[in-house]
């Protein structure tokens, strides 16, 4: 995972700096990035395994080394996008006067890069790294234990790690073991979060360009965070009781700032659609061409390596699956996403409003949510299998519980994005607006309706876009919960494709991935970007 992170970071810096510094390059690189990040990461899993491990199919399992390479590449695909957007946003945020001053004092080339660009990028890199690691953890439970290929010559990927541990526990239907693995995983994630990212984040503050003070997190609070971190570090070695005490106050303080930062990062990221809209046609066409080219290249490599002809695969696909079927399963998957989204939106909006209205509740709930969101949704899957699927194996309700399980799993992949965006928005309502509404006695339901909900509108949109991204991702795993336990949909189609006859399987995987990416892009264009244009009015002026 660390190796993948180093690769992702290098990629992010190179790609980001080229995009932000070269106007011409950005015409191609920006839309390309936008397409790539729309591809559900989990959908890439079978493709990577096809390509990397494809050579070794047959009776002999691929060597350990190949497996590790494949898993690193996968984690890379999950990690790379957030820091890349972070780098671009960081460079774009360098104020013009600083750029001009650097120019006036003769800073060029590597000196400019080292002294201006890298420091400017640092805070964004830290915050987006938190997101990147989250994406990485998400994959761990999936990619460490994977089987694919037809049963007789099945390829079993088994990498020693926590992910496999949890997956195996689920296979054995051992609730205790699965829970234990989950607790250890969350423990590691939280520890890394506290010990590495949050102190780094506090340091990153130094490199931020001064703009208007962020609402309600002013200088005093920042210094108390530094103090909190120091105290926290001191007490790490002291008795357990004091540890828990300091952890609580530390967490409460840091959380709020972390949230705000993450929100800011995400808002930056969401400006890209606007910028992409201004890109000339040739840039867009070229970027799509590159993407399609890469897909075709992948297809050829996959199929060639298995000494199969493309024509055979396509003709097999044509006889096996009709376009109508593909549309039908896409719609089925979509309906699951819509249901999960509706549930997620309603509970998170309620929770967001509650948090906004009561400091006490906020202090109680936010740390709980933080732990909740640090659990990678994929790690929960085995638990759901044990609780919702196994007990109903032979009952007529199986269809219902399966669909319920699938929606629940999608929900875990969606809800946190919405929640934290909404919480950030309600916390971000400027103080003067709050005072004005109090002075003019706007309270209760009117306050919620006229102030809180409109104020969270942009955040709801941003959260929705991310939630749908997470939802598609979760879909791939959630529809095919275990062997012979699946509900019809695009996700299960994709998973089943990997255990088909090789040529057909490869084509099917690509077909479903393309449909999925296409659907994501279409929904982005038709729904979210249109709404985003309206969201401008609901932003507070800086």
């Amino acid at each position: 995972m660390t190796i993948a992170y180093i690769f992702a970071l290098t990629f992010a810096l190179a790609y980001g700096i080229t995009t932000a510094m070269s106007h011409r390059a950005s015409h191609v690189l920006l839309p390309l990035l936008d397409i790539f990040q729309s591809v559900p990461v989990l959908g890439v899993v079978p493709v990577v395994f096809l390509i990397i491990l494809g050579t070794g199919t047959g009776t002999t399992p691929p060597p350990e080394f190949n497996q590790e390479v494949a898993s690193i590449i996968l984690i890379f695909t999950a990690m790379a996008w957030a820091p890349t957007f972070g780098v671009i946003a960081g460079i774009n945020a360098i104020p013009t006067d600083i750029k001009e001053a650097a120019h006036a004092y003769g800073m060029h080339g590597t000196r400019y890069l080292r002294q201006i660009v890298l420091p400017a990028v640092f805070p964004e890199l830290v915050w987006s790294s938190i997101l990147a690691w989250g994406g990485g953890w998400y994959l761990i439970p999936v990619e460490e234990h994977l089987s694919f290929g037809q049963p007789p010559n099945q390829t079993q990927v088994d990498l020693p790690g926590l992910g496999r541990f949890i997956a195996l526990a689920a296979l054995k239907a051992d609730l205790g073991l699965a829970l234990f693995g989950l607790v250890v995983l969350v423990g590691i994630i939280l520890a890394i979060d506290r010990l590495i990212w949050k102190p780094l984040g506090v340091r990153a503050e130094k490199y931020k360009y001064e703009t208007v003070a962020a609402p309600r997190t002013t200088a005093t609070r920042q210094s108390s965070v530094v103090a909190g971190v120091r105290r926290y570090e001191d007490r790490l070695v002291s008795p357990v009781l004091t540890f828990f005490k300091s952890e609580r106050s530390y967490a409460a303080r840091v959380l709020e700032i972390t949230r705000l930062k993450r929100i800011r990062h995400i808002t930056e990221r969401l400006r890209f659609p606007e910028r992409i809209g201004r890109i000339p046609l040739w840039g867009r066409v070229l970027s799509y061409a590159i993407f399609v080219g890469l897909v075709i290249l992948g297809l050829i490599v996959t199929i060639m390596s298995r000494s199969q002809s493309i024509e055979r695969g396509i003709s097999l696909l044509a006889t096996d699956v009709t376009a109508l079927e593909l549309i039908a399963i896409t719609l089925l998957s979509l309906s699951r996403l819509v249901i999960a989204y509706a549930i997620a939106l309603s509970w998170t909006l309620g929770a967001g409003i509650l948090i906004a209205r009561s400091q006490k509740l906020s202090r109680l709930l936010v740390p709980i949510f933080d732990i909740g969101q640090s659990i990678p949704a994929t790690a929960l899957f085995p638990l759901v299998v044990i609780l919702l699927v196994d007990p109903f194996k032979n009952s007529p309700y199986l269809g219902f519980t399966l669909n319920l399980a699938s929606v629940l799993l999608i929900l875990t992949g969606m809800q946190w994005y919405l929640l934290f965006n909404i919480v950030g928005a309600v916390n971000g309502v400027p103080n003067d607006i709050l005072e004005a509404t109090a002075a003019y006695r706007i309270r209760g339901r009117r306050f919620v309706k006229e102030i809180l909900i409109p104020a969270s509108f942009p955040a709801i949109l941003i959260g929705s876009i991310q939630a749908w991204g997470g939802g598609w991702n979760a879909l791939i795993v959630s529809e095919s919960i275990g062997p012979n336990v699946s509900v019809p949909g695009l996700g299960s189609f994709l998973v089943q494709a990997s255990s088909r006859e090789p040529a057909l399987g490869a084509v099917e995987i690509y077909a479903s991935l393309l449909v999925m990416t296409g659907t994501v892009l279409i929904i982005n264009r038709l729904v979210w970007r249109r709404l985003l244009r309206k969201a401008d009015r609901y932003k507070f002026e800086a």
């Binding site: 003067d432 002075a439 003019y440 409109p454 509108f457 009015r537 507070f540 002026e541």
Partner: protein, 253 residues
């Protein structure tokens, strides 16, 4: 202005102490004064707690001890008879000019049509006719503050509180708006009796006020209470004003 025998507002022994880790910070140190039908300015060095005092007077903030009486009744929450104007305008970005003004009076028990009429009248009075359906983003700073003023006036308040209302504006706009605010306040058609304005601009205070209360640096105490009985309209470049300002500035520093 004539001074009625009954004070409209009584600020009684207000103290504000923020508890901190180890030691607490005293912001307001037992402040008392009465407010009559007058234009009162509160000046003091930045960070001395002027704005906190104003918030306490409106009931937006609670004092650690002491109380504020409005016609003898203690104020604990914002009153519909008090209008507030903010330094940062505090306009809701997704409401139009009309919407922002309406927001002040929509909780009162007035008919919708009547509300609309009142709002439109005050939008006209501050010179924003024709901008009713504009959004704050489309307005200049001066125009935004005019919306803020219209919103406060629409309440037809007895007391108007202003927190550095001109310090986010450019000098020229501020000068015009100052004159207009004084004119509106002197117009007998408006029911507003007392204005309390907080500012760190001493020149602005002596130009506009009947009376200036001078606060010290934190913890804030009243160090002077200056009456200014100059004829109105005043010229901001009147040498007498400069002398008064100098006297006040020497008290602060």
């Amino acid at each position: 202005m004539s001074q009625a025998s009954e004070p409209i507002l009584q600020i009684k022994d207000i103290a504000k102490i923020y508890p901190g880790e180890g030691k607490s910070t005293t912001v307001l140190d037992h402040i008392s004064f009465d407010v009559y039908k007058e234009f009162l300015c509160i000046v003091g060095p930045s960070g001395c707690g002027k704005s906190t005092l104003l918030r306490i007077i409106d009931g937006l903030d609670k004092p650690t001890s002491g109380q504020v009486l409005f016609h003898g009744q203690p104020i604990t929450s914002p009153s519909p008879k008090v209008g507030v104007i903010f330094q940062t305008f505090a306009l809701i970005p997704w409401k139009t000019v009309l919407g922002n003004v309406l927001m002040a009076i929509s909780s009162a028990s007035i008919q919708k049509e009547e509300q609309l009429k009142i709002a439109q009248k005050y939008i006209q009075d501050v010179g924003l006719e024709g901008f009713e359906s504009s959004y704050p983003k489309e307005l200049s700073g001066g125009m935004k503050q005019r919306v803020g003023i219209a919103r406060a006036l629409a309440l037809q308040p007895e007391v108007l509180l202003m927190d550095e209302p001109f310090s986010s504006l450019d000098a020229l706009t501020a000068e015009n708006l100052r004159r207009e605010v004084v004119d509106i306040w002197r117009d007998p058609a408006y029911p507003t009796g007392s204005v309390i304005m907080v500012t760190h601009n001493v020149q602005e205070a002596v130009e506009m006020a009947d009376r200036v209360i001078v606060l010290s640096a934190r913890p804030a105490k009243i160090v002077d209470d200056v009456r200014i009985d100059l004829e109105r309209p005043r010229s901001p470049r009147d040498p007498v004003l400069y002398d008064l300002a100098d006297r006040i500035i020497s008290k602060i520093s």
